[in-house]
């Protein structure tokens, strides 16, 4: 069976998903269930003066209205319990929840929700993250002393001395915007109490056991009294990492002891779940005349919005990658995660890395240009190699492939794109340009966060091994992990794929594999499955029971927290490396940018299923293209103004580059199963910077703000044509 690893096996779930047979959470809703409707605050920051549910309760069909007093432990969060399930005294963003109406029909629930009378007293709101850092700024949470959720410093070497000696120093500021996950299937689910008095929630998510932990804590129940089950999951991208409505379902089912259902429409989904962090990066880079980057200073400010979510971790990642994938001897970076009364931000494919490397990769290109060097050559001189020291002063984990990935990218790109000079122009106002960028992103949890995956493998047969059942609580969010896990088990056991089944959908039936996030499941879940399969196989051989089983917990090399003063430490156990070459066409009369070609190179360690790896790269590029050029989430004074897919524009197939070339390198990771490491987030990391570099190549102007909309391109072109304003746009000293 040695041909299972790397084979482009078709996904067993694919047919059902395209024919409509697959059952997503909203398909589980049944006639006799009660329906929930959330009363959202719609206030940016306010004190709840009074909350009157009597009119709602009188409405025909309304069964109950739950409020803060009904919640056993009214605080939750992935990292910090700072978010109320239902607000008690204060609301801190528009999408805060104040009440939950339960009714016989969806209409009655909605009508009941309208009848819940809440009297508010508006409080001073803070919606600008920079202003939030001022000592006298209004507080996003009245009970806190400061809006600073995290300040993380990273210090290495002596930047002042390095800048003094540098041959070229460039300083600039970049800003990125919110991004909405826009998974196809908005949040939905059902919940009920089973015959053993356990509350069962059937929904979609990214981590069964963490959802269970948080729900058990909210309901103050032992974890075994809560069962979380995932139906088919219609995309996640980090957007299902935080609880959205799972805990509301659990609360209502537990309180009323009746089956309940809730399905959000797109607008509810858009205002209620977290987004990608908008980040501003002020940075200064220095290099020697012979092309060595010697110093990076940066201030990274991430708008965390009203609740902590994963802001602390995202901001650490952004801070760590402020110097990109380059070995820089002198670094001084300060990262801040800030509370505001904007929509909360949290996990989103890339997790801080795309924001940081939008700035870093542009700065690297500009340094090269200032030195009169080829940006590829300049990158090669500075890029991470085996043994390079990270900003945190420790060597990178083994398997550093940044350089071979870049080299392979350039090699492949030269077959598809004329990398040295853009193709001849078709029309004078249509200009073509090429951009190159690299990227790095951790695989798995960072900074000492407990990291593990546990799998059980059960073997059955007679004289010969016949069947294997793998148990692993891993969410298939659409990335195809369930098939990959079976491929790994089958290969390790020498079985055909059909002989291996997987149980993964229920927290009660499968052990904790950790989240489907951080590009980690193939490495972590896959390694646990592999180890358990090998162990079970050994036990099978050693007994005559026609049955053997093994449960193995895999723990990767330990990471550590960052030192509070210097950031020193071992941040990660594995990285993914990416490089992209991109060709764009810019219409200088309209500012529109069309991406024509993308060569996207990735070291995946080992492609377990090649087709799925390519699918991850291509799908990720669609999200990256939206992030770079199109997706323009508007929040003004805390109000989301683009809660519809007609106002928040996602790329269509016509916006995608006609040519995408996924390039897969297989340089084994020391820990991954068959050498596999993650890939799911990687194409998003360099993309925006590569597009910015290509726009610069085409037009001579730099864009420093995402998304790079037509007006931003037009303004930049216009400013460049007007010498006085061009001079002030950035400082370059030589």
């Amino acid at each position: 069976m040695a041909d299972l690893i790397g084979a482009s096996l078709p996904r067993p779930d694919a047919l059902g998903k395209v024919t409509g047979a697959a059952r997503y959470p909203a398909d589980l809703i049944q006639a006799e269930m009660l329906h929930l409707h959330v009363v959202f605050a719609q206030r940016v920051h306010a004190r709840i003066v009074s909350l009157d549910t009597s009119a709602a309760l009188r409405y025909p069909g309304v069964v109950a209205v739950l409020t803060a007093v009904d919640v056993p432990y009214n605080a939750y969060g992935l990292i910090e319990d700072d978010q109320p399930v239902l607000c008690h005294e204060e609301v801190r963003f528009e999408g805060d929840k104040v009440a939950l109406v339960v009714a016989e029909t969806p209409d009655a629930a909605a009508e009941g929700a309208r009848l819940v009378a809440v009297e508010y007293e508006d409080l001073a709101a803070i919606t600008d993250p920079k202003a939030a850092l001022a000592p006298d700024a209004p507080l996003a949470h009245s009970r806190l002393k400061s809006n600073v959720l995290l300040h993380v410093p990273i210090r290495k070497g002596d930047t002042a001395a390095a800048f003094a000696e540098a041959g070229v120093v460039i300083e600039d500021e970049f800003s990125t915007s919110w991004q909405e996950h826009a998974f196809l299937q908005p949040e939905a689910g059902i919940a009920y109490v089973d015959e053993q008095d356990r509350v069962v929630i059937e929904t979609a998510g990214q981590w069964l056991h963490e959802d269970r932990r948080q729900i058990a804590s909210i309901l103050q129940l032992p974890e075994e009294h809560v069962i979380v089950r995932y139906a088919a999951i219609g995309g996640a991208f980090g957007g299902r990492e935080d609880l959205s409505l799972q805990h509301l379902l659990a609360l209502a089912a537990w309180k009323l002891r009746r089956p309940v259902a809730l399905a959000w429409n797109r607008e509810e989904s858009m205002i209620a779940h977290h987004k990608r962090h908008p980040v501003t990066i002020r940075c200064k880079w220095g290099a020697t005349r012979d092309g060595k980057i010697t110093a990076v200073e940066a201030t990274v400010i991430a708008d965390g919005g009203a609740y902590a979510s994963t802001s602390v971790e995202v901001t650490k990642v952004a801070t760590l990658f402020a110097s990109g994938c380059y070995e820089v001897p002198n670094i001084s970076v300060d990262g801040y995660a800030v509370y505001t009364n904007n929509i909360p931000c949290g996990a989103f494919r890339g997790f801080g890395a795309p924001q940081a490397q939008f700035a870093a990769e542009i700065m690297v290109t500009r340094l090269a240009q200032a030195l009169g060097m080829d940006p590829i050559e300049f990158r090669k001189r500075n890029i991470y190699r085996e043994g390079s020291l990270e900003p945190t002063q420790q060597p990178l984990p083994d398997g550093v492939s940044a350089l071979p990935v870049l080299e392979r990218c350039i090699e492949e790109a030269s077959k598809h794109i004329n990398v040295t000079r853009a193709e001849t122009q078709t029309m004078p106002h249509l200009r073509r340009g090429i951009g190159i960028a690299c990227g790095i992103k951790n695989v798995g949890y960072s900074f000492g966060y407990p990291e593990q995956a546990t799998a059980t493998v059960e073997l059955n047969g007679k004289a010969e091994l016949e069947r294997a059942v793998v148990r692993l609580g891993a969410a298939d969010v659409g990335q195809g992990t369930h098939l990959a896990m079976r491929q790994i088990a089958a290969e390790a056991l020498g079985l055909a794929l059909e002989q291996v089944s997987l149980i993964a959908e229920s927290s009660a039936e499968a052990p904790n594999a950790g989240s489907a996030s951080a590009s980690r499941m193939t490495l972590m879940g896959g390694r646990a499955v592999y180890d358990a399969a090998i162990e079970a196989r050994a036990r099978w051989s050693a007994n005559e029971d026609y049955y053997a089983e093994a449960t193995v917990q895999y723990r990767p090399p330990q990471t550590t927290a960052l030192d509070a003063a210097t950031g020193a430490g071992l941040p990660n156990y594995c990285y993914g490396y990416a490089a992209q070459a991109i060709e764009v066409e810019v219409d200088t009369r309209t500012g529109q940018v069309q991406v024509l070609k993308v060569v996207s190179a990735h070291d995946v360690g080992r492609a377990i299923n090649r087709q799925q790896v390519e699918g991850q790269i291509e799908g990720c590029l669609a999200q990256a293209l939206g992030y770079a050029l199109l997706e323009n989430f508007q929040v003004r004074d805390g109000h989301v103004l683009t809660p519809h897919l007609s106002t928040y524009l996602l790329p269509t197939v016509l916006d995608m580059p006609p040519e995408i070339v996924p390039v897969i390198l297989e340089l084994a990771d020391p820990n991954g199963p068959y050498g596999a490491r993650g890939v799911a987030e990687m194409a998003l990391v360099p993309f925006a910077a590569a597009v910015a570099c290509a726009i610069h190549d085409a037009t001579g102007v730099w864009l420093k703000q995402l998304p790079m909309t037509p007006e931003r391109v037009l303004v930049a072109i216009h400013q460049a044509a007007t010498p006085s304003s061009a001079a002030q746009s950035s400082k370059e000293q030589q």
Partner: protein, 338 residues
Amino acid sequence: MNPFHYERADNAAAAVALLAQSPTGTFLGGGTNLVDLMKLGVAQPELLVDVSRLPYDRIEPLVDGGLCIGAMVRNSDLAANRTVRTRYPMLAQALLAGASGQLRNLATTGGNLLQRTRCVYFQDASKPCNKRVPGSGCPARAGYHRNLAILGASESCIATHPSDMAVAMIALDATVRVLGPHGERIIPLTEFYRLPGDEPQRETVLEHGDLLTAVDLPPLPFAVHSRYRKVRDRASYAFALVSVAAALDLDDDGTIRDARIALGGVAPVPWRARRAEEMLRGAPATEATFRRAAEAELAAAQPLPGNAFKLPLARNTLVRTLLDLTRDVTDVTEGATR
């Protein structure tokens, strides 16, 4: 969504009579705009009179050589019509540049002309908006107005009219047939839409109960050389940031005999560019002329910080479209002489 009554009218007169009895009622065409607004709580009619199946679904020649388009003709059928494609290409192009295939299959000609603005504050019933709630204020001016007007706006409203089709029709000097409680009348499209002034809630000259039954296009032979160009954020399924509908009539020596131009995405109404047309008549078809015409048309623009980019965008797009048209016309004439 508020509860409402639904009626399907058997004939136009009955539809008009039904609606006359219901002050907050409204006609339902394809519903692609109205039903969205009802879901958002922006429109709250107590009665819907479905007119989409009334027998105004034909596209027929007029005695003067023009074309009569029934108000219930679906956008997709209109775009696919042979006469429209060959004699009024800009209209077919405008339709195909709008919305998506599914939406065009439902959307009607009448409904398209009367679709409401995409201003985000208008669409959000929790926000003030002079158009939705007269006198409540216009948060767009100081807020998010990237897609709003640079021409023809007022202190009270800076919304844009979102239709692509209407831009082409207004350039073509279309007229609208209306059946109202007091009989039938014909209104030139250029007089159909109202600028907001201090009554942004009144978008057209229609009165309550007026039913659109048809749009007439005049013959306008030179419209065979016409184009619709739309600039938008993504390649399909997005409203115009700026659009241009233009037709050019050139002499053999390259002098402009006549022109029809309208702009979309820049004003509260589909914007007929009469000043630009005047500048073009009798002038040579050169880039310099086009540029002067565009500047003249846009001289009155009052851009705001968030939509100032529309000024160069509209200018560049208009010039580009006229240049392309000149090339089309010249190619055809050269082809004929060869």
